[in-house]
Symmetry: C2
């Protein structure tokens, strides 16, 4: 079974780790949001790509959901001492990823090629594709003006009201993205933030049309009315005008879905087949178990 997963950072990366354990590497393609990418300390940082890569490589920090296990912050401490930009921390080993990537971009290699190189070096076997090779930054309109995603989330700690979320820049999907979707038996939308992690992928040229012909299932990032991680629970009332719930996620994706996976006890949305199961996958074993259940469920939705 050929599987495509659409993913943002933490939640999506954890499900992808489970998928990587149960799908043959040559049958798994992960299309990753690049809307959060930004330039920091002069380096191109791709938070979601790196979280997915580090997670599959077994290098991710087990709890915090970003960065590397056992990471140090010596360069950061010195940047702070110099009075440099200290609002976003980059770890020492993580820095190497951004240094190597930035140099390769300046040398003319594409983000798709670079991501493949980095993954190969870390022993990541499934294909990880950035959604775009060109910048496609997420913009957040607020009462204080339009902010970049990292400015809104990290510098302003997600405390500024969200009026609208949109994407700037290129609308061309990266090479391989549409082909992977066309070839997929199943497309899994990970338990990521639909507004800032999945919508940027869905908004690229041809992606929605390609997905319309596939068995697409989504896993809810909302459990018992709360987001497992990040600002999603606060965004839903502002953007959808309703309380946060798994059903609000399913309704957001609408007719795109052939199935929806949500936590036991959460209210099911209308109009789409559901699978109730345990969707909290902080533990490794749960990631693999959920991946198996999601694929079996999707396989029955043909």
């Amino acid at each position: 079974m050929k599987v495509v997963a659409l993913s943002g950072g933490v939640g999506g990366a954890r499900l992808v780790e489970g998928l990587a354990a149960v799908v043959r590497p040559e049958d798994l393609t992960v299309i990753v949001n690049t809307g959060d990418d930004f330039v920091h300390w002069g380096l191109t940082v791709c938070p979601d790509l790196d979280t997915v890569m580090y997670t599959i490589a077994g290098l991710a920090h087990p709890e915090q959901g970003w960065g590397l296990a056992g990471e140090t912050f010596h360069a950061y401490g010195m940047v702070e001492r110099y009075g440099g930009e200290a609002w976003f921390r980059l770890g020492d080993r993580d820095l190497a990823t951004h240094l190597v990537r930035t140099q390769a971009l300046l040398a003319g290699r594409s983000l798709t090629e670079i991501t493949a190189d980095l993954c190969r070096a870390l022993g990541v076997a499934p294909r990880i594709l950035p959604m775009c090779d060109a910048p496609r930054p997420t913009r957040i309109d607020t009462p204080e003006g339009t902010l970049s995603f990292q400015n809104w989330l990290v510098r302003r700690r997600g405390q500024v009201a969200v009026e609208r979320i949109w994407s700037a820049g290129s609308t061309a999907p990266a090479p391989g993205v549409l082909d992977a979707i066309h070839a997929a038996d199943v497309v899994v939308i990970g338990p990521s933030n639909p507004y800032v992690s999945i919508d940027p992928i869905l908004g690229l040229d041809g992606v929605r049309a390609a997905l319309a012909e596939r068995r697409v299932v989504a896993v809810s990032p909302i459990v018992a009315g709360k987001a497992v991680k990040g600002p999603l629970a606060e965004m839903i009332p502002q953007l959808a005008g309703r309380p946060p719930s798994a059903a609000a996620i399913a309704d957001h994706y609408g007719r795109l879905l052939r199935g929806f996976v949500l936590e036991r006890g959460d209210d099911a949305p209308e109009g789409v087949p559901v699978l109730h199961t345990g969707t909290v996958i902080a533990a490794r074993a749960d990631r693999e178990r959920l991946a198996r259940e999601v694929l079996a469920f999707a396989d029955g939705r043909r």
Copy 2:
């Protein structure tokens, strides 16, 4: 007494630390070689400027003569894992210096301004000037062709024969360099490699003419026929056609010198007043002692 010091890396930096202990900060200007500067991992690295800055700040590694005390190499290890350029190691905290500098250069600040900012942040009070704001890379002609300095020294471990050493790029001294020399009561040429650390400074427009009117004294980097650090002892036979000695250094500078400081027991050069003293200054107390002796000697050479 207004003092200007010309310096390369390790040896020069140690004497400069001594000078900084005995000269008022507003009376001390250090003009530092930038011929070794290069771009590594996409970052502008200035080895001699940083060695001088870290040494005065008390942050330098006490023995190895480059880098920071207690430095870690986590980013480097990860770059190596990615198959990146691993022939030159940059430490984690040292990386911050290059990141901040590279960003500031891209933002349009000059190397002189950036160096002043970095020094201020580290509490370095004397004025540290790069010899040039524009690149002035040292080139080494060898039987295998022309190599950049770091390629010759680090990548090739200084094992390739040296036929000629020259400087490419701009010949304009950085702002403040000529004024500092004109205002100096004493100019001290540190115990640095004359070919690759001092000659690049001397070759800049107007520097030799300005020095001709000053009391210039040099401290020998050769002690008992050996270089305290680096490839100097092997360079002298190749470039001057004689065995390495303190006298060979004095003869290299020739009529520029009003005085020459060398190790007790080393043969004095002809035609220049000398001070025999202890010139090995690995210990802090010796740096200050030598600085006092050099200034008193120079003051008597009026």
